[in-house]
Point group: C2
Chain length 536, copies 2
Amino acid sequence: MACGSWESWESWLKITAVMVLLSPPACCSNILVVPVDGSHWLNMRVLLEELHARGHNISVLRSSSSRYIAEEPSLYHCFTMSLNGKMGITEDQEMLSQFLLDSLEILRGGLTLTAFVRNTQIIRKMLWETHHKQREFIRLLFEDSALMEKLQGAGFALVLTDPFFPAGVMLAHHLQLPLVCHTRWLSFGDSHYLIAPSPTSYVPVVGSRYTANMSFLQRLANAMHYITTVKLGSAMIHPSYDELCHRFLGPGTDIETLTQHADLWLMKVDFVFEFPRPTVPNIIYIGGIQCRPARPLPPDLEEFARGSGEHGVVFMSLGSLVTQIPAELAETIAEAFAQLPQRVIWKYQGDRPANLGNNTLLVRWAPQNDILGDPRTRAFISHGGTNGIYEAIYHGVPVLGLPLIFDQYDNLVRLDSRGAALTLDVSRLDSRQLLEGLREVLSQPSYREAMARLSALHRDQPQTPLQRAAFWVEFVLRHGGAAHLRPAFFGLPWYAYYSLDVALCLGMVVASLTGLALLAIRRLYRALRRVKEKQS
Amino acid sequence: MACGSWESWESWLKITAVMVLLSPPACCSNILVVPVDGSHWLNMRVLLEELHARGHNISVLRSSSSRYIAEEPSLYHCFTMSLNGKMGITEDQEMLSQFLLDSLEILRGGLTLTAFVRNTQIIRKMLWETHHKQREFIRLLFEDSALMEKLQGAGFALVLTDPFFPAGVMLAHHLQLPLVCHTRWLSFGDSHYLIAPSPTSYVPVVGSRYTANMSFLQRLANAMHYITTVKLGSAMIHPSYDELCHRFLGPGTDIETLTQHADLWLMKVDFVFEFPRPTVPNIIYIGGIQCRPARPLPPDLEEFARGSGEHGVVFMSLGSLVTQIPAELAETIAEAFAQLPQRVIWKYQGDRPANLGNNTLLVRWAPQNDILGDPRTRAFISHGGTNGIYEAIYHGVPVLGLPLIFDQYDNLVRLDSRGAALTLDVSRLDSRQLLEGLREVLSQPSYREAMARLSALHRDQPQTPLQRAAFWVEFVLRHGGAAHLRPAFFGLPWYAYYSLDVALCLGMVVASLTGLALLAIRRLYRALRRVKEKQS
């Protein structure tokens, strides 16, 4: 217990720290993962790789219709549910393409009330359909007694889930296991809303397109956004799982409370990107978890990039979600690219635009992180998905934003407000605008400098986001939970949470005392008047 | 930029992490420290030792009447202000002793309204006098043009201060330097209140003696505590510095806003101890920063402890603040100790009680951390100061609490609620009670087990609190601030912060619409009636 002098203690501590960093974890556990497909999966898989490397046994619950979540026996064991038809937003490409076209058409008409209402209706319909499919998934899962027995007997120590869909949350409760959420979004907005105070006065609701500094009218609109998306959204979606909760988990259970009860939240957020906001101790920030130093480019891309000379390369990708854009939009983009001195790598799965320039290379898939980390890359044309944005921040590449749907515009607002991106309106884009925008991002040093500053701040952390995420998953494994980090607001009804009952009570006391005082004064006044009258 | 395969990247990362951990920081900076004396200083000094070891040059601004902040040329350079009379709560031992006696007398009468009011009055008087002295200190400081010139020319890169007194905050603003606060308390309560949302429904105000789970009546009382201590306290204290701010820093400045503007808050809190509560990204938690593995005991204590045999040792300390307790209380304690089979080390500066047992050793000073870390130590009798509590948690020693003043009772409530401590009422203490309490803590394994669990959770961190604190101070040095972690609620008036203006506006819109609808219905009804009347 005791050890020499202060100096020897210091060196002891350093040696211990190094040992902890290099040594394998004490024990290897069975982890049940319930992911969400699409881009959500892409960076959850990075964490699974790390946990696998640390010796844990990973099992993934997936549907047979998964688009990205493949069977990878070298990395994880699969429990595959047979499901008719596509599941979830990210797996139904047809629904998405239609949504994108609708959104562009609506945007073209400007941000009018009608456009807002129609867009909201589409999102609601999409959400409703995907949640309907998710409920079917949950029903099949809990009714599959053979599978449930397997899950119960597998000796899992933890459930790791993306709570965008609640199957993992329900499973953790059913199996009585600690729960770790890997998340940024729930169906109704930022996951923070479920567990951390979020004053609408300086926390802009995603969809509002505001920064953290809002005028009175913006704060008013932000509050309306909060009510119509966060509050109405959760009031609409959560109760739709009540019947399943009561049936499979017992009466008195509901999705909102079960999710709030998670031990730990691995939040895909970093405050070089997100506006600083209130948080709680059981949120661990892991924004940029997938970023890593660039590996060499594949031979074809390397050769193409080498030919760019002093002008360098521009990279364009609209992400994994959207594979099709309207042909005329593709031609507009191709026309602008053809006029650049740079070479352009364009990740695009649609038909080859007729006017594609010689300087532009279409690829169906691209190693985005490696391209952004290549020193020849001068700009990133992005739809504003968070994975791409974090990679751009990590490598310090300025962004030209072409936001399409969901959170993409708001994500770009966050970069714009730091001077690290320029955002264009896709719905009214012409090739001249795009070219001018590109030239500005490429020639104005302020964009690259702002990105370099964000990059320096983001990289200067005691641990990488990946190490941090793995540390805290293992923390929950070591201690069988992390309840001591979870604020005790559970079980408080909303009026008690906001102290409205206390305010009402205090208000009534003050009112009663004021009333009594007034009454007393009145009586006194009358008595005095009577005395006066008698005297006169 | 590019580097081999994924595996080689992993090893690269590990090597980098080790290098970062072991290597000296890139540059060594001049840091100006404005501390608060007493126990506050004790663990700030631990951080200064670490920063000094990392090669930074430390300068400390102190008053000539300092009790603990000595001149230590090997560790830091001193700027010493000559001040007549004692400064601050912690330096005026006479005032403290009187306060303690008053508090005990009040407590003996029970927690009545009179007692509460009288105790509050005493605290207010103490606070007022110490802040009066602090204002004198600030006036002398800013009027000492030779000293101010020296400070301006010293090339400081950062101000590190305990914002309990605002001299450091004002200096940072004047010198236009990044500001790091090292804190747990401001004069009106928990420092969190100034920068993080603190719902009274699940965040108990210190002084309330509640846990995070409150009944309706407790929530009501907690809200009253919040209004009477936090809100009235800050409304009383902050404006008392307005004149100094306007005179030395210019019009429009005030202490509250200047303090809120700090880049980073090193908060002496850990959530194995404090109830989990909302926080903000620029708070770094460093509770237990002073804890470290025990060093061997000095020869006299070692010999005394060795003689304890199988029964082990009990350690008692009422902290650095209180040096005198009433003689009768000392005798009560001595009487209980004499009946224990354990040996007792009692840190006590008062007169030797006549009935002191042979098993009890009085010491004027004790290496608290080393005694608590000694495997023979079975229990810690503590007043509930946070330094001692964190050391007890770190070493897993159960606590018998004898709280006296300030936050001590509330600190012990936090340990009690985890089953790791037993708290007694000092004001009515008799030796039988004390003996029974001690026997329970010593014989019931639950206390030691609960402490062992807290200890395991507390020690399981990616960095030690000290490494974390030093990392973030150097982060602010490297980037010239940490503004990107600071939520943007500054400049919002209170009604805007709480969205009261937005609520009022929305309320008026709803009321107007309802009014118009009612009016329309009334007109319609009348029109219909008129038609009917005509018909009849």
